[in-house]
């Protein structure tokens, strides 16, 4: 690893460490083994170092572009149409009961 470029702005304190990566994994609902965590921290840090190339650009007057075309929200007439076949959908679900998806308890457990 090359020494991180220390910017004068507030990003200097954002070098990744295992604790940050572990928190991101929790947010993403991923469980990483200790080895995976080490590799992930190293790889993500390397990428983020590379991505600092855009820090030299003056973006203060640039409007963000979330998607390419000037699309507007699309509305169509509210006409009843057949939906997906419920049996066909539930047949490929991991677990179903009483015509619904079945999941483990959502309350009563503390993380």
């Amino acid at each position: 690893m090359t020494e991180p470029v220390r910017d004068t702005d507030s990003r200097a304190d954002r070098v990744l460490d295992d604790a940050v990566v572990a928190k991101v994994a929790r947010l993403a609902r991923l469980t990483l083994t200790p080895d995976e965590l080490t590799v992930m921290t190293e790889q993500l840090s390397g990428m983020l170092e590379h991505f600092r190339d855009i820090d030299k650009l003056d973006l203060s007057a640039v409007a963000p572009m979330a998607q390419p075309l000037p699309l507007k929200n699309v509305m169509r007439d509210d006409v009843v149409q057949p939906g997906l076949d419920r049996d066909e959908v539930l047949a490929v679900a991991p677990a179903a009961e009483d015509q619904r998806f079945r999941v483990p308890p959502t309350i009563g457990f503390v993380e």
Binding site: A28, H50, F51, L57, A66, L69, N73, V92, V103
Partner: protein, 475 residues
């Protein structure tokens, strides 16, 4: 060089005119699959029985004098991230293994309506994340032109299927180059249409503001026909443009006289010399055909990689949140819901998918959003503005498709960034939402094919295909 298999147009004409039958054509393709698929691994699934039944129906329709579609009897392969009703669709991920979608993607319906025969679902980098098809949970695909090398990715199976003669054409998806780069590495034509020109309904989402479906073919004319079949407005995709499918077959003979071809003077470095030599030969060929080469600047191009590898993982981390073990795919049981989510996702996703979900989740998380995702969106604007300025003085831009020819297995798997650099020339188009295609134009190192990329503004497909056809005539 790439073996010359029959074109889509020739196959369709011969079947329509009774010179051959859909069944005979399909059997020829299936026999090539039988001979080489074990070595190539282009497919996750070959739908042999369904294909034979479809071919028999086409033959019966033709015998009965019924009108048939423009692709009647043409064997076509689908990237395994396009939903096919009742037929497993995996995205080459363990998390979707065995899942049978309850509906067809719009492009699948359009292919069926045009009479095409779907021969199978092709291998890809898991969830289309990769540039070599080495990230598939079901093993890599090999390049039919040199089986010690990758076919490119992420649509490597779709490219290999056409290059090996397993299908006359195929569909892939292109988020940052996943059609054009494997097309270049396998010696094929590959098209990334303008964002919104082809419906994404039923394409399993990777990065929704970048994804687009397009064809792999042996010829530019075949690609034009495929575009006419799969393009056009779809009310089921809210990002679908209102435009009808472009009519591209009729423009191919119009030549390039008077067209202005952009040469990027500040192009990112790192390409193989043989690749750059082919690009120069392409400029010369177009000049000889009456076009003018003009210098253009795209100063933000070099930042495309950073913008893309923040935007795409951010969108992916959101899109892939749906794989939670509830509605489809695998589930790893756990005592409560949150533990089930984490257990399922940790077992179901491969390393590259996890890496991108982590990167995207980080880029979107509180405290880092402005510094990463927010900045990347601004760089995206700069890149689109650069293209807009360039297209003020030229009609299309030519670059290499890939900095290198097909590389050996394992060459770039140890360093994710090295793999990401494969996409340096293809990524900017997706960020801008423009059209681009790769056209085979001779060979480079090791006698392997080189692709030249033709970039055009949004809805610039007509001009793009004219240039592609001129390059094909000159190659």
């Amino acid at each position: 060089m790439v073996p010359r298999f029959a074109s889509v147009l020739d196959i369709a004409r011969d079947i329509r005119e009774g010179a051959t039958s859909a069944t005979r054509v399909l059997e020829e393709h299936l026999s090539r699959i039988d001979a080489r698929e074990g070595e190539i691994h282009a497919f996750n699934l070959v739908t042999r029985d369904e294909a034979l039944a479809s071919a028999a129906r086409i033959d019966a329709d033709i015998a009965a004098g019924k009108p048939v579609g423009p692709l009647a009897g043409v064997p076509i392969a689908l990237k395994d991230n396009m939903c096919t009703r009742g037929v497993p669709t995996t995205c080459s991920s363990k998390i979707l293994e065995g899942w049978k979608p309850p509906y067809n993607a719009t492009v699948v319906t359009k292919l069926h309506d045009a009479g095409a025969i779907v021969v199978g679902k092709t291998n890809l980098d898991e969830f289309a994340m990769g540039s070599s098809t080495e990230n598939s949970a079901f093993g890599p695909t090999r390049n039919p032109l040199d089986t010690s090398r990758v076919p490119g990715g992420s649509s490597g199976g779709s490219a290999a299927a056409v290059a090996a003669g397993f299908a006359a054409a195929s569909l892939g998806s292109d988020t940052g180059g996943s059609i054009r780069q494997p097309a270049a590495l396998c010696g094929l034509v590959g098209v990334k249409p303008t964002y919104g020109l082809v419906s994404r309904q039923g394409l399993i989402a990777f990065a929704s503001s970048l994804d687009q479906i397009g064809p792999f073919t042996h010829t530019v004319a075949d690609a034009a026909l495929l575009m006419e079949v799969i393009g056009g407005h779809d009310p089921l995709d809210s990002t679908s443009l209102p435009n009808a499918a472009p009519q591209l077959g009729v423009v191919l003979d119009r030549g390039v006289e008077g067209l202005r071809i952009g040469r990027v003077v500040d192009m990112p470095s790192g390409s193989e010399p043989e690749v750059l030599a082919r690009l120069e030969a392409a400029f010369a060929a177009l000049e000889a055909a009456g076009a003018t080469v003009v210098d253009v600047r795209l100063p933000s191009l070099e930042y495309g990689l950073t913008a893309y590898y923040l935007v795409a993982p951010a969108e992916a981390s959101s899109n892939l949140a749906r794989y939670d073990g509830v509605r489809y795919g695998m589930r790893v049981d756990a005592p409560d819901l949150n533990a089930m989510y984490a257990a399922t996702r940790s077992a179901g996703f491969g390393a590259e998918v996890k890496r991108r979900i982590m990167l995207g989740t980080y880029a979107l998380s509180a405290g880092y959003y402005d510094a990463y995702y927010g900045k990347a969106l601004k760089v995206r604007r700069l890149i689109a503005d650069d293209f807009a300025a360039a297209y003020g003085s030229c009609d299309v831009v030519l670059t290499p498709t890939s900095p290198t020819v097909a590389f050996p297995f394992g060459d770039k798997t140890a360093d994710p960034l090295a793999m990401y650099l494969c996409d340096v020339f293809t990524i900017p188009t997706n960020l801008a939402g423009h059209a681009a295609m790769s056209v085979p134009f001779g060979t480079g190192a090791h006698g392997l094919p080189v692709g030249v990329q033709v970039l055009a503004p949004a809805l610039g497909e007509e001009t793009m295909f004219r240039v592609a056809a001129a390059l094909e005539r000159a190659s």
